[in-house]
Amino acid sequence: MTDYWPLLGILLVVAGFALRFNPLFVVAVAAIVTGLLGHMSFLKVLSTLGHGFNENRYVTVIWIILPVVGLLERYGLQEQARTLIGSIRGATTGRLLIVYLAVRQILSALGLTTVAGHPQTVRPLVAPMAVAAAEKQRGKLDEATSERVKAMSAATDNVGLFFGEDIFLAIASILLIQGSLASFGIQLTPFQLSVWAIPSAICAFLIHGARLVLLDRKLARAAK
């Protein structure tokens, strides 16, 4: 008989996020509850949590980039990003983000996933440029529009990364697929798998690209 109780932890996470409690708090409570329901002692839960946290420190290393970004912002990096976009004729939010989407997909497909990202490129460069392009189209932005443009900048980075990286042979997810299938005696090369990431990558570009074109239309319409 399968023990379904540990699944309660998942419900706690969903409820906690939906009710907008502090997510760190939600995750910690869910971890402790799940562990206890999974027949672990409190000390065992605490040490598993601590061990997991310590082993995953690399996830948080990315923030070492902020002193550089902050320093350059002090000297006008965002303002310069706006000036640059303002000086390019025909630059619109949608076109800018479509170019970024293509570049991000291609770089990820070449295995260069960490050359761009939210702290590296979106916050200092892409988002201010996208906002500046939108301002060029329709003057000063209201808050909702500016939020939308920034959110689309971040979304474009994610779509470009997710639907580019699997085309690269040596990415962790391809190796995971290969390993999972191999444990059932199905032998595939990374190349056979990564080829099948290409149709989805093209769909991702077309679908998200179409949304960016629509965003441009909406910005232009509102300007009139």
């Binding site: 998942i10 996020f17 601590g50 550089v68 303002e79 295995g111 939210h118 997710f162």
Partner: protein, 317 residues
């Protein structure tokens, strides 16, 4: 050999800097809470391996308490006025992009050098740590270049770095916390339980329904766990391999690759994938912490449909 530990020493120093910068910001009423939060992370980076599992567990609980009791806030201090920034931008022009681009450039050149040249054989850098070590090198190079060129006050990087870090706040450790939750989920057998649930509802006779269940299972499990990596082995073992590949004779390469990518559509729609969805909202100072997810759902759903069609038509020709 350069390992992750070298990088953790650097990261500890940067977080200690964030603690210092936060403590210096007297416009933030909760500055000591912020300083304590970042100082604990510095401790974790520097001494995490010495604290023991229980010690680290207590450190986690203290971090959660600081965040959960709303003891961290953000100041209003700006190091320079908008006008000063505009003048400075006019003065330095597009050269301001150079230090910012040095970081991706270092990652780019470094990745090429360590993957495609004889340097690879020298084992200078632990292969598991290459991308992060290159990031660290890029940051150091960019900092040195910026200081030499712009000649800012000594603590400028500390103050402006913590201004941004406090903008992100507790969300900065959410991805790491979720990774720890994943460890607990695995230890408590959540994955196997979900696999058992899914196996129990497999429809028989219809390949299309099985494909649908496989893709939706990937999406939902990915949304719960925050990444497709945890979902794939479970769903592959429950449906992908026994039903779609072995029973119905589907092409394993399509089912593996596109199955994973269906999971990625789920990643676009869940707050559990905090580093992609919640952290950027904080980093871009969005009012709505789910703003990025909202912007992604209209892409994720058509893309999921596209993936299901690819799965069905390409795997079962």
């Amino acid at each position: 050999m350069i390992t992750l530990h070298w990088l953790y020493i650097l990261a500890g120093a940067v977080f200690a800097g964030f603690a210092l910068g936060s403590a210096r910001d007297e416009t933030n009423a909760k500055r000591w809470g912020n300083a304590a939060f970042w100082a604990l992370l510095a401790v974790s980076f520097w001494f995490g391996d010495l604290l023991g599992d229980i010690g680290n567990g207590i450190l986690v609980l203290v971090l959660v308490a600081i965040a959960g009791l709303h003891l961290i806030g953000r100041g209003t201090k700006e190091s320079t006025t908008k006008d000063a920034r505009r003048r400075s931008a006019a003065r330095y022009g597009n050269r301001l992009f150079v230090p910012a681009l040095l970081i991706p450039f270092t990652a780019f050149v470094g990745t090429l050098l360590f993957n495609y040249t004889p340097l690879k054989a020298l084992n200078l850098i632990d292969p598991k740590a290459v991308t992060l070590v290159l990031l660290g090198c890029g940051v150091l190079i960019a900092l040195i270049v910026s200081y030499a060129w712009l000649r800012p006050p000594a603590l400028a990087a500390v103050d402006d770095g913590s201004r941004l870090m406090n903008g992100v706040g507790w969300a900065a450790v959410l991805p790491q916390m979720l990774a720890s939750l994943g460890v607990i989920f695995a230890a408590a057998g959540v994955g196997t339980t979900i696999g058992a649930v899914v196996s129990a509802v497999i429809p028989s006779g219809s390949i299309f329904l099985a494909v649908l269940l496989f893709a939706f299972g990937m999406v939902i499990f990915t949304m719960i766990m925050g990444n497709a990596f945890a979902a794939f082995p479970v769903m592959a073992t429950a449906i992908g391999i026994p039903i779609l590949i072995q029973q119905d004779g589907g092409n394993p390469a399509v089912i593996g690759a596109v199955g994973m990518l269906s999971g990625f559509c789920g990643t676009l729609m869940t707050p559990m994938a905090a580093n992609f969805n919640i952290v950027p909202a904080a980093l871009l100072e969005l009012k709505d912490q789910y703003g990025v997810i909202r912007a992604q759902i209209p892409t994720a759903i058509p893309l999921l449909i596209a993936n299901i069609l690819i799965l069905y038509f390409a795997a079962f020709r």
